[in-house]
Every structure is written in C-alpha cells, then in structure tokens.
Symmetry: C2
Subunit: 311 residues, 2 copies
C-alpha cells in the first residue's frame, strides 16, 4: 500500500477571490462536482467575509451548503472573524479555516488587527464554535509564515510563537502558509522542523504559492519533513492582493503528477482532474489557468500510485 497524501483543493476560495469577473454559483458548484468526480475529497468551497470586500465570495453559504450533498466530501469554509465563523457554521462547513497573519503589518492590512489582538479574537471565535451542538474541525492557518510583502522577512520565533498560540487557543490543526510565495526549500525545512518541535502533529498542512517558481520544490521539502497534507489550486489559480506579480497557488495537476509518480496515493485521477478545468475555464480570463501537466498532457510514462478504475 502506498502512503496517502491529502490534497485540499482551494480553488473555489483562494483561486477565485481575486478574479475580476464574478463566477456564477451554478458554475462553482459544477466545478466542485467535477473536482469531486476526479477523486478530490477536500475542498475549500468559500470564504465568509464581507461581500463588499470580496464580492466573489458573496454566495459562499449557498456553495458550502450545496457541496455538502456530495457523499464523503469534506467541505471547508474560511472565516477571519466571529461573524464569518458563525456564517460558516450555519452553512454547514465541516472544517472552519481561520487565518492568522504572523506578520503584524500584514495582519493589520488584512483584518485591521495586529497579530496578538487577532489571536485573542480567534480564541473567542473558537470558544463560540466549541459551544455549538455540531462538532466542526478547526484548522488555523499561520499566514505569511515564510515572508511578507510588506515587512520582508518574518522571524522564525514569531512563526513558532503564533503556532503555539493557535494551539493554545484550541485549533485542532495548524497550517503553515506561504501567503506571498517567498519561501525556499531551506526555509520550509527549518520552519516545519521548528513548528513540529513546538506543536507536534498538530502541524498538518502546507499552503504554498508559486510566486518565485519554487512552490512544488517547497512541497517536496515539506513532504521530506513529514508533511502529508497540502493545499493546491487547479490551474494554479489564486494570488494575494499584497503580492503584485504573485502567480498563484501551487498547481493541483502538477502536484498530483509529482506525488503519484513518487508512489504516494492521492486518490485523484489525473485525467479527470485535467477535465475538471473545463467546468471553470469559460468563466476566467484567457490564460488564467496554468500548469505544466495541463499544457504538455500526461506523459506515456506516467504510473500513478492511486489505482484508477478502468472504463
């Protein structure tokens, strides 16, 4: 049996939040169904933020609640404050994703709160979620953990401090996010090691961007350090309003190709994953979707670890 890797497709959230034209709810749902048909079982379906700030996410409650109909799909919803967490809970999200920027200046730009103040708010938010009748998983994200477009380098001690604080606040799991894509493999190695030392197995996932062309190499280093969960976006969608030129998240198709080729099982059928692009591409500007495997096609030498049903 090959070892299992969990890929969470964050395209419907991180991938679309910066797209200029609004994608219809029906198209989002058709896209989620196509991703599900390819074997993806973890989807970040929306973000519960102000529709004035991120109009693309105004229908997140509908998208999340409709996505719940797909059997076995884990539906994630992002929330940055209590109001958002309440809405995500009400919509029925299985997992509530809560970002905290390790960079104080990035935090202020993003949520109008410094990092410490935001941790306090997150602790209250988690307390509220824990008091509800339905159990949800709470994934906290240490964002800007590998650098910040505003303040440059981010101190490792601050990343470790943020991870510990999020664990103390009650996070089930912690994700390290390279929000602006400044990470390199040596930094991934040292940061993952230090955070594992601090919070152990609670560090589960990496969220990587491909800004400097190193996203997949950073994922490889994370894999070597024991990380078994990754966020990714179909076609490398996404970006960050505070990182001009950022080229989006790591490409789900290329990540699946790498992991499956290396003998890790993702449960994802690469050919069907490539087809899932058709569900969203008509709603995006030409050239928005990128990726190596989609451009070149699946090579004849591809031997996936995941057994693919014939027919």
């Amino acid at each position: 049996m090959s070892e299992r890797i969990t890929i969470t497709e964050v395209g419907p959230r991180d991938g679309l939040q910066l797209v200029a034209n609004t994608v219809p709810t029906t198209a989002k749902l058709a896209w989620i169904e196509a991703l599900y048909a390819a074997g993806i079982r973890h989807i970040e379906a929306g973000s519960f933020v102000s529709p004035h700030l991120v109009p693309q996410m105004a229908d997140s409650a509908v998208v999340v609640s409709q996505a719940l109909a797909l059997p076995g799909l884990q539906v994630y919803g992002l929330a940055a404050n209590l109001r958002g967490a309440m809405a995500a809970y009400e919509a029925g999200a299985h997992v509530i994703v809560i970002p905290l920027s390790v960079s104080d200046r990035h935090s202020r730009a993003n949520v109008n709160k410094g990092t410490l103040e935001h941790i306090d708010a997150i602790a209250q938010l988690i307390e509220w979620l824990r008091a509800q009748p339905r159990a949800v998983r709470i994934d906290c994200v240490a964002a800007s953990a590998f650098g910040c477009s505003i303040s440059g380098e981010v101190a490792l001690a601050d990343v470790v401090g943020a991870a510990k604080a999020l664990a103390l606040a009650g996070a089930d799991r912690i994700t390290l996010a390279d929000t602006v894509g400044y990470a390199h493999p040596a930094l991934v190695q040292s940061t993952v090691c230090a955070v594992q030392d601090a919070v152990g197995q609670r560090l589960q996932k990496l969220h990587l961007h491909d800004t400097m062309g190193l996203g997949i190499a950073n994922a490889l280093m994370g894999l070597q350090q024991g990380i078994r969960e990754f966020d990714a976006c179909l076609g490398g969608l996404g970006g960050c309003p505070f990182a001009p030129g950022a080229s989006g998240n790591i490409v789900t198709e290329d990540l699946v190709f790498m992991l499956e080729s290396m003998g890790y099982s993702t449960g994802i059928d690469l050919a069907k994953l490539l087809s899932a692009r058709q569900a969203i591409s008509p709603y995006l500007p030409a050239g928005t979707l990128r990726g190596g495997v989609p451009a070149a096609g699946i090579p004849a030498s591809y031997r996936p670890a995941t057994a693919v049903a014939v027919g």
Copy 2:
C-alpha cells in the same frame, strides 16, 4: 564560506534552437555579455549541427569564437557528430558537449543512429579530439535519461549502461538530461544514485526541463544527492521538437533565487541576471520568456549567499 554551485546558461544553444525567428549574431553576443556581467561563467554558446536542420545555430562558430574574448568565461559548444566536434574545436570551444540519447528510438529520430551505434561514433569523435594539440573538456550527455516522448519509460539499466559506455569512451564528465521533462524527484533520486554508483564523480551535472512543472523540484532532489552543477535557461527558454507542449528548461533566475536563498553560492547577481533578459527579449515572440522571480520581482526578504558588490 558557502558551497559553490555551477550554473551553465544554455539559453544561446538550447534556448534558441526552437525559436522561429533568427536572432542576429550581434544580439546573441550582447546577450552573452549581459549574462557574463551578471556573473555567469559557463555558457553553452552554440550547436555545431547542420544549419539546414537548425538555422538558428548557423553562426555558432562566430558566437563561440567571439565569446572567448570574455576573461574567465568557459565557452561550451554542442556537437552530435565528428564533423560538429571538429567545427566546435576549430571555433575554440573550451568544452565540447556531446549528447547521446539513452532511448534508442529518440536517438534514431534525432541523429539517425541507434544508441549503440551512436556510442561507437562518439568514441571515435573523442579519439579525434584527444589527438588535437589543444586540450578540451569533453562533457557527454545521457539524454532522455528520465523518459522519452516516443518510447515512454526509459529503463534505469539503460541509463546506467549508457553512462558507463560514455565513461569508457573517454568522457571527462557525464550529464544526465531530462530532455523531454518527464522526470519526478523519486526518479531523479534513484537515477542519480545508480549512475553515481556506476561512474562516480564523473556524473557532474543535471540538465532539466520544466515540462510538468517539476524542474526546480527535480533540481532540489539532485542537489540533495550531491549534484553541484546544473544547466538552466534564462526565462526558461527551450523545448524539444519531440515533446509538444514542453515548456523549456528550468528558469535560471528561479534556480539562482532558490540556491542563493538556501545558502549556496552561484556567483550570480540576481538583479543583473534579470536585466540580462533585456538583451534578448526584443528578438523573441512576446511571452516567450517566463519565470517566477522575473514576474514578481526580487522580494525584500532575499538574502543571497553570493556577496554582491555594492555600487
């Protein structure tokens, strides 16, 4: 002192050979000078092949001989047969690069000879070079070492066999080339290990393409296996006539960013390297040059290992 990594810029050869419009000789030389000014000291300047087959390389003798004027620059010339090796020698190349396709079918498509027959021809070619008054370094390349667009998988035993045969034929150094870009990190690891076992330190370099988006991750794995030399192309130029959709070589700018960030010294000034794009971009179709760092710019957090002169 940080450990040294040698990057050979292969843009003037591999990068241009598929470009539709012919780049003037003066532009190639200006580009080589700009690369040199950025600190690059290893450049594959041309290919000594039939100008009917690769018209872009018709001026290789002029480009190589002019590039010799740059102090300390190691000038590489590629040759696939004796006639080409003679021409590369006459032009004054310091290093003669000789490709051999490990895939028999790719070899026949490329040089109209099977792999075994071509090894025999290479042995004769090396004998000729060794008999000349001027000493040259001979770098043999095991091409299609990680897969072939014609025959799919390439057997590891064939790669090891080809490397041994090239060593026996008298190659000073051996490069493993992922000609069509089908490699993944696990394959890089197993192949590099097996070839190191077979030919030891004579395996020096990896030549990687980014077809599946894994080029830089593959370079990272090579680095972890002890490889200290890499080919790369400014802006990720290049491709392979037998790999439709192939997106070119690994991007020199992104590779330098990764290596320097990780504490390896390349001797290359990243800002000047980005400027070197201006010397060639007017001669290329729009959008030909790609790369993460060039699109996003050098982040404020960049701390190169190579000491850069101020001013």
